[in-house]
Symmetry: C2
Subunit: 409 residues, 2 copies
């Protein structure tokens, strides 16, 4: 389990909780102030059980006004806050690092409106993705995103992490489908950008700054999102290709034939197929290209199994990793978790990625675990500018501290 | 013709050009420093010939480094700069208000790369939209946007104004299709966010702040954009509907049948059809709903012709204007241009729009003409935050002054 010591992080000089703080919160939301250590446990640990904090307080607001009251108070008192949705993140962004107050959106789960002509849904941030999808399906629509954690993740968390997922190729990213946001800033002021317009060019698009900001700039309290109609049919083809070049050629052909209704395009190499057969007892319906991993083990690294060999998913002409949305999940297994193994692998992967102009976090954000690695994907001027935005919007740094950006000093 | 006096704007205390300034610029880009008043004329007036400035200098950089040098110098000298693309804007954002230096992207028209598998184009900001489209068509692709001004407008200007246009319904907005930007900030520092990745969640998405910022936060020098394959066929249907309710119903049906390959959905009412017949000598192939304008002339306003009656394009159930992308162009003609006519119409239209949660500028931005009206579509907290971003990124306010945001004092 990772802890704050893992990256040598020290607790910043935030205030510690007092009895009068608890009394204040209890006054704001009676019965929704959690201090029982047993009850707090699952919210202090991330889904992978890789990062653990020691928060002594979780708050469960139901309204934007309550979130405002909480943040205004915390800002004045200099209390650190960890906004939390479904706590399904993979980079330690959704749990406290030390004793930050957990501000949960779990009770902010109200659907505000849905318009069947435009397909625009407006809802509170704590709505569970799958529940929203079920609600929409009854009316012939679907959410524009889908991902493995859909049964637990909150739409607010999806937006805060700019979640990609399975439908991105067809419906685009949340930067296009999210039409409006309501956000409470660090000082408790509410920002209403909850428009439901497909086109709006009046001033800077402030909501974009909060999409993917991982709770460090504000707490998203409501979302307006454009939802597509449910497809009348879903067709899946499993094809065998002789080479990675053929994988790309087939992709181009599919897109030419299907246009924007192509939902996804995934590929697995031979090693991956072998593992699927071995562990899931599923046999491949085709025999073709899958010539497996090479470079990694050849280089003598302490890796037992590499599910995906990304050197095979790399197109030397375009200098890009390219299958569907160009996103690659690298899963590495070992006998047991080991710091030294991770320390051997991470720099290698990040350097390789940076060398090919890739992103070290295509989907999951930076959170706590990857915040020190941002420079692999962003130039220092960009990181400096991000830090200036953070300082402007959250001058005391109370929102999701120790996350996403390297310390500015 | 509108001038700076129109809205009582006063020249801010920027420096005036000196001979040594001209010598400096001539040193940076010999032969590309324009001071001939005749040559400058068309660049001082907007396309509608509604706004005129009196710049005495236009610079034509070819590279990002030159733009950097110019802005660094202007920032130090406190010289105001008007970034200009194809000068096709409709809100007076692309021309100087007083004597700002015109920084033209006209010679920054190089295509940097195009990848046929991913469809990702990287080019300089001054590439003309139509030229890019022609280049792509040769390779079986198209630009994800198309608009009337395509023969003149620059891709940098398209991004700076977040241009919507004819293909938005199918390919989405530039906020989704623009994958990366290179921007030079007010102080001359270059910000390289020119990634070509469909998914990248490493830090705040800085490029979004520059999309639609109308040259007030930085000068866009290069663009990375995702381009779709050219459709194999284009089919157009002209349908007659008995009522606006039927227009919406037909839209829903079309989308259900066609999914994301539906490119556009437009509607015209009876009055509009009459005008097309009268002025363009084109007769309607169908006879159906088009019951024309009512409210406006009934209210006794001094309007000769209203091309579109937006009360008919309004859905009382969803409280939204809804046809295709929900964008409506209101064209009003009169015997001659008149301030008093404009003053009578604008507040009425903006108040009506605000009452129905619409945007007073769906596509064209705010520029010079609409900057005082932003409060109709954005709450004051949002405008204040925008002003703080502007002050942070351009503390001297040299970039496209007098535009987009109301003065902060």
């Amino acid at each position: 389990m990772l802890t704050s010591e893992r990256y040598g992080v020290r607790r910043l000089p935030f205030s510690s909780l007092s009895d009068s703080d608890l009394a204040f919160f209890e006054g704001v939301m009676p019965g929704r102030v959690i201090t029982n250590p047993e009850e707090l446990k699952p919210f202090n640990v991330d889904w992978l059980k890789s990062v653990r904090g020691c928060s002594k307080l979780m708050l469960k607001p139901q309204t934007t006004a309550e979130v405002s009251q909480v943040l205004r108070y915390c800002y004045e008192r200099n209390l650190a806050v960890n906004p939390q949705g479904g706590n399904t993140g993979l980079v330690g962004g959704s749990v406290p690092v030390f004793d930050e107050i957990i501000l949960s959106t779990v009770l902010m789960n109200r659907i505000i409106s849905f318009d069947k002509v435009s397909g625009i849904l407006v809802c509170q941030a704590g709505c569970v993705l799958e529940k929203l999808n079920e609600y929409l399906e009854e009316q012939g629509f679907i959410m524009p995103l889908d991902l493995g954690a859909k049964g637990s993740c909150h739409i607010g968390g999806n937006v805060a992490t700019n979640a990609g997922g399975l439908r991105l190729l067809r419906y685009g990213s949340l930067r296009g489908t999210v039409l409006g946001l309501e956000v409470v800033l660090a000082d408790g002021s509410a920002l209403d950008c909850l428009a439901s317009l497909r086109k709006d060019n009046t001033g800077y698009d402030l909501k974009q700054l909060f999409i993917g900001s991982e709770g460090t700039l504000g707490v998203i309290t409501a979302v307006s999102i454009l939802c597509p109609q449910k497809p009348k049919a879903v067709n899946l083809a499993f094809l065998g290709c002789q080479s990675f070049a053929k994988v790309l050629e087939t992709f181009t052909t599919c897109r030419a034939m299907l246009g924007e209704i192509l939902s996804a395009y995934e590929f697995m190499d031979e090693k991956c197929m072998e593992l699927v057969e071995k562990h899931l007892k599923l046999s491949s319906p085709v025999a073709a290209f899958y010539d497996g991993m090479t470079g990694w083990v050849d280089e003598g690294r302490a890796v037992d199994i590499v599910y995906l060999d990304f050197s095979k998913a790399f197109d030397p002409v375009s200098n890009n990793i390219l299958t569907g949305d160009g996103n690659l999940h690298l899963n590495i297994t070992a006998e047991s978790y080991s710091h030294s193994l991770l320390d051997a692998i991470e720099p290698f992967v990040y350097e390789w990625t940076a060398r090919h102009n890739g992103s070290i976090s295509a989907e999951h954000g930076l959170g706590f675990k990857k915040k020190q690695f941002i420079q692999y994907s962003k130039p220092s001027e960009a990181v400096l500018l991000m830090q200036r935005f953070k300082a402007m919007l959250d001058p005391k740094g109370i929102l999701n501290p120790y996350k996403m950006l390297p310390s500015s000093s």
